[in-house]
């Protein structure tokens, strides 16, 4: 009997398919990695169904590829060894929004569009990465630790408890949601830690290789009553970094980021390519974006003390930093960009990274902010070696937690139908990554081609990771071919 028929017994025939047209959509994504077809796709409707599918696959030693989003960039959901795609899109319920404890519990299929709009109705928001695609899974991005644009909270991570289905098909709740009978319990699921081990850690950055996360509790915050967006043109990156080292530890601002002219143009251009080209030519090399906000109480006072602090630092220590409420020469930029920072990228518009040429390969890693300029120089050198115009590479620096660290991201844009350009971008991407690693860039999220390189360099970690994987997934059914598994 076929896989499809067996799984149809569990889910019903409407939620299982092995039709080529259904499978094709899972065979590739926006990455440069080669396609790979699954054998079957299933659309379970709840945790129990996920568990039954995984149990069956584990018994038959069939790979399971969890998918939660409609859009993917890193190749981690492309089946590397066939198997069953478990698409969680039907599990798209916002299970609760607890305003007292400021947490929301969402299923894996809940999208950014859905989540942000529901929270807005209650005057709430969640800290979020820069312009995530509207139809991408909130849970996936949180598990993948996409870096938020908000730098002010001391405690960084928004994720609290999660529910998972282990590779043997059993459901399990991590953290304080692990109490018997949750959510009908006094525990609200606010603590991610425990029970016994910090199990939730093994699912972060795991690309579905440790099990399937079916829901997550996330912290939510109140929407500020007032916001002011500030910009500074930057042509001296080390100087700008010094400025951020000065102000961000003093808990100034909510969102704070640095975009080069290419990335900023790709985000704010009205029309492609004319508007984009014009913006690229006229925007400063870098733009610092800083949002200061007044919260629920005395919002004016909060804005005032932040402005007063900034004004003192600017006038006494950083006279060259022209931080104002508009970027000279670009009137209306603030009005346009501010709401964008609190929302996902609209699902009905090509993603901002794909607007330029249709495809984009990102290279991103964690480093210390004072090293970011060094990585810019390295990129210039690598690009020069390939005669690749550095003026076409998007760059984005995201400070993290009071600027104690940052994520550096480079975007290589390409035409998806141009095989030659894709191969070329793929080469420069790998070479640039190697050069960055040699200089101390830390790749927390090893995707695709970079994973073997990264794990070779981290031999002790890799060994221990494989031992943990062996405990949880002895048959290696969960998304095999990714990371070091």
């Amino acid at each position: 009997m076929s896989i499809k028929n067996e799984l149809a017994k569990i889910l019903g025939k409407d939620y299982v398919s092995d039709k080529k047209e259904d499978l094709a959509g899972y065979a590739h994504d926006y990455s440069l990695l080669p396609p790979g077809m699954p054998d079957t796709v299933v659309w379970p409707g709840n945790t129990q169904e996920v568990g039954k599918v995984v149990t069956w696959c584990n018994e038959k030693n069939i790979p399971v590829v969890p998918v939660s989003s409609k859009v993917h960039f890193h190749g981690s959901t492309i089946p590397k060894q066939g198997g069953v795609v478990v698409d969680l899109k039907r599990m798209n319920n916002i299970l609760e929004i607890d305003l007292d404890n400021r947490l929301a519990r969402v299923e894996a299929g809940v999208t950014w569009d859905q989540f942000v709009s529901e929270l807005e109705k209650k005057g709430m928001r969640t800290i979020m990465p820069l312009l995530p695609p509207g139809d991408r899974s909130v849970v996936t991005d949180t598990l993948e630790r996409e870096v938020p644009t908000n730098v002010v909270y001391d405690y960084g991570e928004p994720m609290q408890s999660i529910e998972v289905v282990w590779p043997n098909g059993e459901a399990f709740r991590c953290g304080s949601a692990s109490v018997n009978g949750f959510p009908e319990s006094k525990s609200r699921g606010a603590n991610p830690s425990g029970p016994g081990l910090d199990f939730y850690r093994f699912f972060q950055l795991a690309q579905g290789t440790m099990g399937i996360v079916t829901w997550a509790s996330l912290k939510i915050e109140s929407i500020p009553r007032m916001d002011k967006i500030l910009f500074a043109p930057v042509d001296d990156l080390p100087y700008a970094m010094d400025f951020l080292y000065r102000i961000l530890p003093r808990r100034i601002g909510q969102e704070c980021l640095l975009l080069n002219n290419i990335d900023l143009a790709a985000i704010v251009a009205e029309n492609m390519p004319d508007d984009f080209d014009k913006l690229c030519a006229t925007l400063p090399p870098w733009t610092l974006v800083l949002v200061i906000s007044g919260l629920l109480r005395r919002p004016e006072e909060k804005i005032a003390y932040e402005e007063n602090f900034l004004s003192q630092v600017l006038s006494q220590e950083f006279q060259k930093m022209a931080l104002t409420d508009n970027l000279p020469g670009f009137p209306g930029l603030g009005r346009k960009l501010l709401p964008m920072l609190r929302k996902p990228w609209p699902s009905n518009v090509p993603y901002w990274k794909n607007r330029v040429k249709g495809g984009c390969q990102n290279l991103f890693f964690i480093t210390k902010p004072n090293k970011a300029p060094v990585f810019m120089d390295i990129m210039e050198m690598v690009a020069a070696r390939y005669s690749y115009p550095v003026s076409e590479i998007g760059s984005y620096i995201q400070p993290i937690e009071h600027n104690r660290a940052c994520q550096v991201e480079f975007s290589f844009f390409y035409y998806p139908d141009d095989a030659g350009e894709k191969a070329f971008v793929s080469d420069i991407y790998r070479d640039a990554a190697a050069a960055m690693m040699n200089e101390g860039a830390f790749f927390t999220r090893p995707y695709g081609d970079l994973a073997p390189v990264i794990y070779d360099r981290a031999a002790g970690y890799t060994m221990a990771l494989k031992r943990v994987k062996k405990v949880f997934d002895p048959n290696n059914i969960m998304n095999p071919g990714n990371l070091c598994f």
Binding site: D100, N191, G196, P249, K302, N308, V468
Partner: protein, 537 residues
């Protein structure tokens, strides 16, 4: 008793001679659990702990690795030990066990610009807090006090009222070195492929999951020898030591750091105040003050405590609603005034009345006043210390207080005090702690029973609890949390420590205690294997 000679000789060679290893009974006696320690004099300590067969003091991670490999080769059980605050559960449990005293791993280095401190296992909080404050940052000092090992505290506990702003302890663990139970070394976070420990997770799935559950594994999954600890930006003014020992404190620069107490009209108002402070995103701490603390703070000796405490009644305790708030001018004096204005707005709405406070800090920023906990009876334990929501935290203590009545005495009479609660992570979490006190010279059977009954109470009432893993019988709590977290924990233990050479019989030590202690058997109403699934030592 001692460990076998060949093993001892090999260990001696690792640490460079006899100076840093000993099996002298007098030395080993110094590593006995208690007396007068945390959880002192209880059945668990009497039944489950013993003195080490030998003590070794390595200086480096490499030496620790070699020691652990020798232990595996010669089948010598071992326990890692830094400052030993955490009482019996971090002391030797089996005969002829090697105690690896890590206090020589005592160097630390601060990265001021990037807000972290790299510490060895023997580094205690006191110097790193001072250095951090010298550089405009701060860390959390747990209730164990500034004399506790920072690493041990962060892989087991690691919170205080300052967690209102700073947040959960496991989020502050950055690049870390873990010597696995078989002696292999895992470097986590950015140490995995480099030398800079500034980042904590990855690459890929985060092995920091092995370091602790909610409240730690008491060293049964390896030895952390090095850790970068995230610090958080503080304010720039110095906090000046003042007073004469033992009545010392830090004088606070009042325009930048200030404790404020508010007397609230009801518990509902007290709880609401914490929610509102969190939502407003102000303050560096927001905690309830139990009436109990006041008596401890005022008393200079046991007799004085009882004189003060003896005047309290169920009624006075039931109607004592203080919210204590620490205001910090992280940005500027103007920011602190903003926080204070917001706080006053909240208190006006809720009927809170400001009460005078000293312009100093006696406990949480630098010291943590753990010594006071022994003042009343001689023994104490935090029977639960739980991070969940403010919703749970503000109800949890009352269940404890109800259960405790049945076991008082031998527990100290406290007129139904429901413990302590506070805000964590700007109100995204709440913390509750319930402490019990007893005289270790009396019959403590009731204390042992109470401790175990709290696990059943938490299961029954569906509370999350810190006392999971090795802190209660694993086969009691395991099926009821996760569910079946114990099965995964035991599989992980078996994978990394198939001989169970690392701190046996943890994490099944409390199960074994119930089997071995006759007075515990009547309480055993849960299922467990006839033979606990571990090698016997």
């Amino acid at each position: 008793m001692s460990i076998q000679k060949q093993a001892y000789n090999a260990l001696e060679a690792v640490v460079g001679g006899a100076k840093y290893i000993s099996d002298d009974p007098a030395i080993c006696e110094g590593y006995r659990s208690g007396p007068g320690g945390y959880e002192s004099g209880l059945g668990y300590e009497r039944v489950m702990t013993t003195i080490p067969g030998a003590v070794v003091m390595p200086k480096t991670t490499e030496e620790v690795q070699k020691i652990v490999k020798i232990c595996n080769r010669y089948k010598v059980p071992y326990v890692p030990y830094s400052t030993g605050f955490y009482g019996p559960r971090s002391h030797c449990h089996v005969e002829n066990e090697l105690l690896i005293d890590l206090k020589r791993l005592n160097s630390f280095e601060i990265d001021e610009k990037h807000f972290f401190i790299v510490v060895g296992s023997g580094v205690i909080y006191s110097p790193i807090q001072q250095e951090a404050m010298n550089k405009g940052a701060y860390v959390i000092i747990g209730g164990g006090g500034a004399q506790a090992s920072a690493i041990a505290n962060l892989i087991g506990d690691g919170w205080s009222p300052l967690s209102h702003r700073i947040g959960l302890p496991h989020r502050r663990i950055l690049g870390t070195e873990l010597v696995l139970p078989d002696g292999e070394l895992v470097k986590m976070g950015s140490l995995a492929d480099g030398n800079d420990p500034f980042w904590g997770d990855g690459p890929g799935p985060d092995l920091r999951g092995l370091l602790r559950g909610f409240t730690g594994l008491r060293g049964c999954l390896g030895i952390v020898t090095k850790m970068a600890i995230k610090t958080l930006p503080f304010q720039p003014e110095p906090l000046v030591p003042t007073g004469i020992a033992p009545n010392t404190a830090l004088a606070l620069p009042e325009k930048r750091v200030k404790w404020v107490n508010f007397q609230m009209p009801s518990k509902a108002a007290q709880v609401k105040a914490m929610f509102e402070i969190g939502k407003a995103e102000i303050a560096g701490a927001a905690t309830k003050v139990p009436l109990f603390w006041r008596a401890i703070a005022k008393a200079e000796c046991k007799e004085e405590f009882w004189e003060i405490w003896g005047k309290e009644t169920e009624e006075t305790i039931k109607n004592f609603f203080i919210v204590r708030v620490l205001l910090i001018g992280y940005t500027s004096e103007e920011q602190m005034r903003y926080d204070e204005n917001v706080l006053n707005d909240i208190m006006t709405e809720l009927g809170g009345i400001a009460r005078p406070t000293k312009p100093s800090d006696e406990s949480w920023i630098k010291n943590a006043d753990s010594a006071g906990m022994w003042l009343m009876c001689g023994s104490y334990v935090s029977v639960d210390y739980i991070i969940e929501s403010l919703s749970q935290a503000t109800q949890h203590g009352e269940s404890y207080a109800d259960l405790k009545r049945k076991y008082t005495p031998p527990l100290m009479p406290d007129n139904g005090d429901p413990g302590w609660f506070q805000s964590f992570e700007l109100g995204h979490q709440g913390y509750s702690e319930f402490l019990i006190y007893w005289d270790q010279d009396e019959d403590t059977t009731g204390v042992d029973h109470f401790y175990l009954e709290t696990a059943k109470m938490n299961i029954r009432e569906r509370f999350y609890t810190s006392l999971l893993g090795p802190h209660q019988p694993l086969y009691l709590t395991g099926p009821m949390y996760g569910p079946n977290y114990h099965e995964w924990l035991l599989k992980v233990k078996d994978e990394f420590d198939p001989l169970w050479v690392c701190h046996p019989p943890v994490p099944l030590a409390h199960d074994e205690f119930v089997e071995r202690a006759e007075w515990m058997k009547p309480l055993k109403d849960w299922e467990s294997p006839k033979k606990l699934p571990m090698p016997k030592w």
